[in-house]
């Protein structure tokens, strides 16, 4: 089929390809320069050393070292060091902005949108949307610190530019349960902001309240089973244990009928009527994203239209509940206790009568 000449050409092309690919790989600029700060600042005080010991131990795998001026932590895949108490901060995702303010911080710019934006931050100038922001606008703010999410490639790709402009950054990883992330990130932020006091009080209050609710519910022996239907205008899915609502349910020890691990990083799986029928959950909880009417329509079409729908226990016992999106779709953050309680009052209301 091929004559010699063709083979020669193809081989030459492949060799060319290998050579050229070498030229295409941008040299991965590891933020080594940030680490240089660490060596210069050693803890001087005894008291400080004690503090470090006590608090660094809370999430040792995240926060590696805290000195008087810097915090060394795991950001994404790298170990980074940032200066404490930054004055000019830009946050590229509003749910993270919320945490930053909760931990006692302030920002000089944020991204578009109103959900999860704390009141004090509403009037901040914006640098674009969270997936389509302007690098130029960020740099023009002359920030000390940029906080971003590793979930967005558009966030990760500005890292070389930030390094080149000597701007420190904190990449927040998104691949853990929301509540876990909530706690960890608040911890990291309070270290950076040098506001352990807020962490000890305000944050502690929140986590304690959540822990209390979990304890309360733990009293019941056998927990009911739930199915969490994530509904958008396009499809219906089942939420897993690492989704927002799923994690809350998991921590309250309810049995999620969709309890396997999803594909890496996913927190939902495709909806299956068979599974719903087979496992027949005690409660069907519905989270909605987007226009409520469209979601209800989608639910009607994909789920309720099945003849077998009426045979489900939850349907017959009228145990279908729509979960409010401000607590179960968008990050509840400071309102986590409210979210936990909301869910507990639906699924295991009896524990509240024991008071």
């Amino acid at each position: 089929m091929f004559n010699k000449k063709h083979r020669l050409i193809i081989i030459t092309m492949i060799i060319l390809l290998i050579i050229l690919t070498g030229c295409q790989s941008p040299s991965q600029e590891v933020p080594q320069d940030q680490n240089n700060n660490q060596e210069e600042n050693q803890p001087a005080d005894e008291q400080l050393a004690e503090e470090v010991e006590v608090f660094a131990s809370l999430f040792p795998e995240i926060v590696h070292d805290v000195t008087e001026n810097t915090v060394t932590f795991v950001g994404g895949e790298e170990i980074l060091t940032v200066t404490r108490s930054p004055q000019r901060v830009v946050v590229l995702q509003n749910s993270i902005l919320d945490l930053w303010y909760l931990a006692g911080g302030e920002a000089i710019a944020r991204v578009d949108g109103t959900t999860n934006v704390p009141d004090e931050a509403m009037d901040l100038p914006t640098v674009g949307s969270t997936s389509g922001f302007s690098l130029e606008a960020v740099i023009a703010m002359e920030p000390d610190l940029v906080i971003m999410s590793t979930a967005f490639s558009s966030h990760r790709e500005i890292i070389p530019a930030l390094i080149e402009n000597n701007i420190e950054f904190v990449p927040i990883t998104a691949n853990m349960g929301p509540y876990e992330g909530f706690h960890r990130n608040l911890y990291l932020f309070s270290k950076i902001l040098d506001r352990d006091d807020i962490f000890e009080t305000r944050i502690h209050e929140i986590t304690e309240e959540v822990a209390g609710l979990i304890e309360k519910v733990a009293v019941i022996g056998e927990k009911p089973s739930v199915a969490i239907l994530f509904t958008s205008s396009r499809n219906v899915q089942l939420e897993l244990n690492n989704s927002l609502a799923g994690e809350i349910a998991y921590m309250l020890d309810y049995e999620n009928i969709a309890s396997e691990t999803g594909a890496e990083g996913a927190n939902k799986v495709a909806f299956s009527m068979e599974r719903l029928l087979e496992l027949d959950p005690d409660f069907i909880l519905v989270t909605t994203m987007g226009d409520l009417e469209q979601c209800e329509e989608r639910l009607e079409q994909d789920v309720k239209s099945h003849e077998a729908w009426a045979t489900l226990t939850a349907v017959q016992e009228d145990r279908i509940h729509f979960l409010p999106s401000d607590l179960f779709m968008f990050r509840p953050n400071a309102r986590y206790p409210e979210a936990f309680e909301y869910l507990a009052r639906i699924v295991t209301p009896e524990v509240f009568n024991l008071d």
Partner: protein, 342 residues
């Protein structure tokens, strides 16, 4: 004698074409200046000059020199590469609808990108080389698949469409299983210039330069190829080897762009067409014209993409698509179609 008359007529035609090229060159300069003038951070022309020529440091300098200038240059290089690639393919395939997409460059890069961004998100720095390899390998694959006693352009186009569809299906399957990663791939799927810096420019300019010269050198051969395989062969051209070399050049040009900027459509398709209307099908003029216009178009569209919803940035591919679709309709409705028809 008719001789002199003829010669002067020919000269006039050539003079006109050279004039057009000069105007296009001026357009490139103008587009570049416009693109570095506008941005989310407001600066006046005065401030720009002062920062670049005198201060050479400071916020304005950083923004202009480290962000706007390289970004515009990357846009220009991408415009050059994609326009040349499209021009080459339209000639080699003798098909006015040919563009880098049909030789599998986009789908190969897209698949490589999906694999990198979705399945291996921690290795996202590998995106560019992966996309490059994916793009180029796919072309080779489509070429070998459609080879039968030589390359029939129509057969290659059909193979390209089939392979591209197949790869799209795989990409969609990957995305179904990782719906939370979808927003990662948006910029790549549509084509985006955000956060492109000197690093990306350095990756691109060798291709643009080499591609430009190769295209110029091969332009006469491409003219002859347009006359049909038999006549080209009769005139002494090695039809098969010329075709494979040109396809590979087109693939390299497109692969380099797509791997840096994402799957930018329409540039390769519409730029050569628009230039053909103005300057004719002679590739000795069409190539330089396409390269120059491609560069200008990209820089202008990127400026629009950055400024229209400032400070939010729209991927430049969306602006190109908005331009491209009406142009496509215009072509279909029988605007001057310079087609190598029978």
């Amino acid at each position: 004698m008719t001789n002199e008359n003829t010669l002067s007529q020919l000269q006039k035609k050539t003079h006109f074409k050279i004039m057009v090229l000069l105007i296009l060159f001026a357009l490139v300069i103008a587009s570049f200046l416009i693109s570095i003038r506008f941005g989310a951070h407001r600066v006046s022309v005065n401030q720009i000059f002062r920062a670049l020529l005198i201060d050479r440091e400071g916020l304005t300098y950083n923004i202009i020199w480290k962000i706007r200038v390289p970004r515009s240059l990357v846009a220009a290089m991408v415009g050059v590469c994609l326009a040349l690639s499209g021009g080459i393919l339209q000639g080699v395939m003798r098909n006015p609808l040919a563009s880098p997409n049909i030789i599998g460059v986009s789908s190969g890069a897209g698949l490589a990108a999906a694999i990198t961004l979705v399945l291996l998100p921690n290795y996202s720095f590998l995106l560019t080389p992966m996309a490059f390899v994916g793009a180029f390998l796919t072309t080779i694959f489509i070429y070998t698949l459609s080879w039968k006693d030589g390359i029939n352009p129509l057969r290659m186009i059909l193979s390209g469409i089939a392979i591209s569809s197949f790869m799209s299906a795989i990409v969609n399957t990957i995305l179904i299983f990782h719906p939370d990663r979808v927003h990662n791939t948006l910029g790549f799927t549509i084509g985006s210039l955000s956060a492109k810096t000197w690093v990306h420019y350095r990756m691109l300019w060798p291709y643009a330069l080499v591609g430009f010269f190769l295209a110029i050198i091969m332009s006469k051969k491409l003219n002859i190829l347009m006359l049909g395989d038999e006549i080209a062969s009769s005139l002494g051209l090695h039809v098969e080897s010329t075709r494979v070399v040109m396809i590979m050049i087109a693939s390299l040009l497109a692969a380099s762009s797509v791997s840096v900027v994402g799957m930018l459509g329409f540039v390769g398709l519409i730029v050569p067409h628009m230039m053909r209307i103005i300057i004719g099908s002679d590739y000795r003029f069409l190539f330089p014209a396409s390269a120059l216009f491609g560069a200008s178009l990209m820089m202008v569209c990127d400026t629009i993409a950055r400024m229209v919803m400032d400070p939010m940035e729209i991927p430049v591919g969306i602006i190109m698509a908005l331009l491209g679709a009406p142009f496509f309709l215009y072509l279909l409705r029988g605007g001057k179609m310079y087609r190598a028809g029978s």
